[in-house]
């Protein structure tokens, strides 16, 4: 049998290698899963991971890759700050929805006027919406010590109901012959989040994601707040002695992650999604949790992880239309990735010693 021996500090090699190992293991397990579903596993894996990049029509899929990765990276960057400090905001999906509702509401309020300041106002509203929604668990946590995991999650279901109400109520398209769903923002030039360079998929949300990656990197490496976040996660007691105020950290981390999720929602509703509808929420807020962990809570890692996760989305769509692979299989595949990631994480914190098992 084997025994575990704690490393004095996490192994640098394995910290970088575990995500790759996890992806490889997930591909194997996913292949088995697809085989059980009666699909050719090699063909399925190739369709998901290779075709969007190098197959036919790759020019279209590469653009889609950035469209999907944008919100994932944006949300995951925010989440990673909290996760590092041991603050578990898992309600990003709700903050994403609120950002979209607030951003769209501001845009629709101006319809059909054309002004340069409408889009910036929508961005502000989106960020504020997400921020406010995240402040609910944050304030409850700091004032009453309420568990932020449960509250932020409950608020996802509240947000989903609010979204449905908005789609059939206040934000419904008055010219939509009674169908649920708002006006199409992408058809409204002052409020549209259009592709900046045609054919690349780059819209303002993608730009924002890149900016967030750089900002988070600078924050964590060069700023006192980043140091406090890292310290609070690694040694909470030492952090308190160093003068870190836990409550302030909770408010900042939750607020930042909420605002970024809200931004992601706003860019999505004004661009790729186009309008507020009942099925607007697509689970980006939850997938971003996987992205944050897969990227090892490091900004650059998150960027790569976001692109990889976007690949599974885009590739999953292709596999769905070409091979008839159920879309839920991709969801299960993404969940498996997180399992393997957590499992192989052991290697960076522990040494494995083979030998006879001692009596325990």
């Amino acid at each position: 049998m084997f025994m575990l021996e704690k490393r004095p500090s996490p192994s640098r090699f394995w910290t970088g290698a575990t995500p790759i190992l996890a992806v490889a293991l997930t591909m194997i397990a996913g292949g088995i899963l697809f085989a059980l579903l009666g699909k050719n596993p090699l063909e399925a894996i190739r369709t998901i991971f290779f075709d969007p990049l190098f197959g036919d029509n790759a020019w279209y899929y590469r653009a889609q890759l950035l469209v999907k990765a944008g919100p994932l990276v944006l949300i995951a960057i925010g989440l990673s700050l909290g996760f590092r400090a041991g603050i578990w905001n898992i309600g990003a999906e709700g903050q994403y929805i609120l950002g979209a509702i607030c951003g769209a509401a501001v845009g629709l309020a101006f319809y059909p006027a054309q002004h340069w300041y409408i889009f910036p106002l929508m961005i502000l509203a989106g960020a504020l919406g997400g921020w406010a929604w995240a402040m609910i668990p944050a304030v409850l946590k700091t004032k009453f010590g309420t568990n932020e995991i449960l509250v932020s999650l409950m608020l996802v279901y509240v947000a989903q109901n609010l979204l449905a109400e908005m789609a059939i109520g206040p934000l419904r398209n008055p010219q939509g012959s009674g169908f649920p769903g708002s006006r199409d923002l992408s058809q409204y030039p002052s409020a549209a989040n259009l592709e900046l360079i045609p054919g690349t998929g780059i819209h303002w949300g993608v730009i924002a994601a890149f900016v967030a990656v750089i900002a988070a990197y600078v924050l964590l490496q060069r700023h006192i707040l980043g140091f406090q976040i890292r310290l609070a996660g690694q040694a909470p007691r030492a952090a308190r002695f160093a003068g870190v105020k836990p409550d302030r950290l909770v408010l900042i981390c939750m607020g930042l992650s909420g605002a970024l999720a809200g931004l992601a929602g706003m860019f999505e509703v004004a661009g790729p999604a186009g309008k507020i509808s009942i099925d607007f929420a697509s689970g980006y807020g939850f997938t971003a949790i996987i992205v944050a962990f897969l990227g090892r809570l490091h900004p650059v890692g998150i960027l790569l992880a976001g692109l990889l996760m976007a690949l599974t989305y885009v590739g999953g769509d292709i596999a769905q239309s070409n091979l008839g692979l159920p879309s839920a299989a991709i969801q299960a595949f993404q969940g498996m990735l997180l399992f393997f990631l957590l499992a192989v994480d052991l290697l960076s914190n522990y040494r494995i010693r083979f030998g006879l098992k001692e009596a325990r």
Binding site: F144, T146, L162, P326, L342, R360
Partner: protein
């Protein structure tokens, strides 16, 4: 709006039915947390139980087989959590989330062929004589078997935790795993068994949703019930009878808002559907506001990894 259409006896009877899935999941999670493990994957285990139970019941035509399959399926899923957190020392919060994300995807995948099907009917047990008591009989004694199973489980968990040696060992492991280990108890083995029990209970709860409460299969049908079960364990400050109280209170709110929807209250349906979640938040706030009392009952080793280094 016609509030007189709401019959109190029917309301209470349906309250018990709507509370049962959460009650089952919560009583399982209580045992898990008492052993010192925080499994946030209840939602994932419930939905896996829902589809395993549904599929087995449809294929065999027997609801009992469905419930057994649900318990087995969900406890197998909880075994993944057990291996990751107990042997591979993974973070319990992250692993619980992974369990939920995986469970939602996995169940949707299996469930594709079952959308729109009707499960075999689970008969209501009419307990002779007792069920004929006016009002009371209607409320208490005309339910299906699982309602009584859930109540029996609460009583059993309470008795085992309070009066038996097994319960004492379980609590010892949850309060201080190092001391329990030093006394020679198999901390990891005990926790894995607790996790499997919790998984089985969550699975039963999920199957209750898909086989009796709804009864049909839709993707993501648990809609946060697993998370509410987790909140109820906190609300109950880790006491079995209070879990019952919490689950029935919650069931009452759910049934009431459904009845208000049916009665045509002048509030949009979406706002009424939010109410159970909002009230769960409110309850959590009230419980945690009283910090000393709430934390007094929490198992001391809750959420901590155990690694015997010697």
């Amino acid at each position: 709006m016609d509030l007189s259409a709401i019959n109190p006896a029917v309301l209470i009877a349906s309250l018990m039915v709507s509370a049962t899935p959460i009650l089952l999941a919560a009583i399982g999670e209580l045992v898990v947390e008492k052993s010192g493990v925080l499994n946030l994957g209840v939602e994932g285990m419930m939905i896996t139980g829902a589809i395993c139970g549904f599929a087995a019941a449809v294929e065999t035509g027997s609801p009992v087989a469905g419930f057994i399959a649900a318990a087995v399926g969900a406890s197998l899923l909880s075994l993944i959590f057990a291996v990751l957190t107990q042997y591979l020392l993974a973070n319990q919060v992250a692993t619980g989330l992974a369990l939920t994300l995986f469970g939602l995807g996995f169940s949707a995948m299996i469930g594709q062929g079952y959308v729109g099907m009707k499960p075999p009917l689970t008969p209501d047990l009419r307990i002779p004589i007792l069920s004929d008591i006016p009002v009371l009989g209607e409320i208490l004694f005309r339910h299906d078997l699982m309602v009584y199973v859930s109540l029996a489980l609460v009583a059993a968990v309470w008795a085992v935790l309070k009066y038996s040696r097994v319960g004492l060992i379980l609590r010892a492991v949850g309060e201080n795993h190092d001391a329990a280990h030093a006394l020679g108890y198999k901390v990891i083995r005990i926790r894995i068994l607790a996790l499997m029990f919790g998984g089985a209970c969550a699975g039963l709860g999920g199957a209750y949703l898909s086989l009796i409460r709804v009864p049909s299969w839709t993707q993501g049908m648990t809609a946060g019930a697993g998370w509410i079960a987790l909140a109820i364990v906190v609300f109950a400050s880790w006491k079995p009878w209070r879990v019952l109280l919490g689950a029935y209170l919650f069931g009452g709110i759910t049934v009431l808002q459904l009845n208000l929807q049916a009665a045509g209250v002048k509030v949009p349906v979406q706002y009424l559907s939010m109410s159970p979640y909002l009230i769960t938040i409110l309850v959590l706030v009230i419980m945690s506001a009283n910090r000393s009392r709430a934390s007094l009952n929490a198992p001391a080793s809750l959420g901590k990894s155990f690694h015997a280094s010697y």
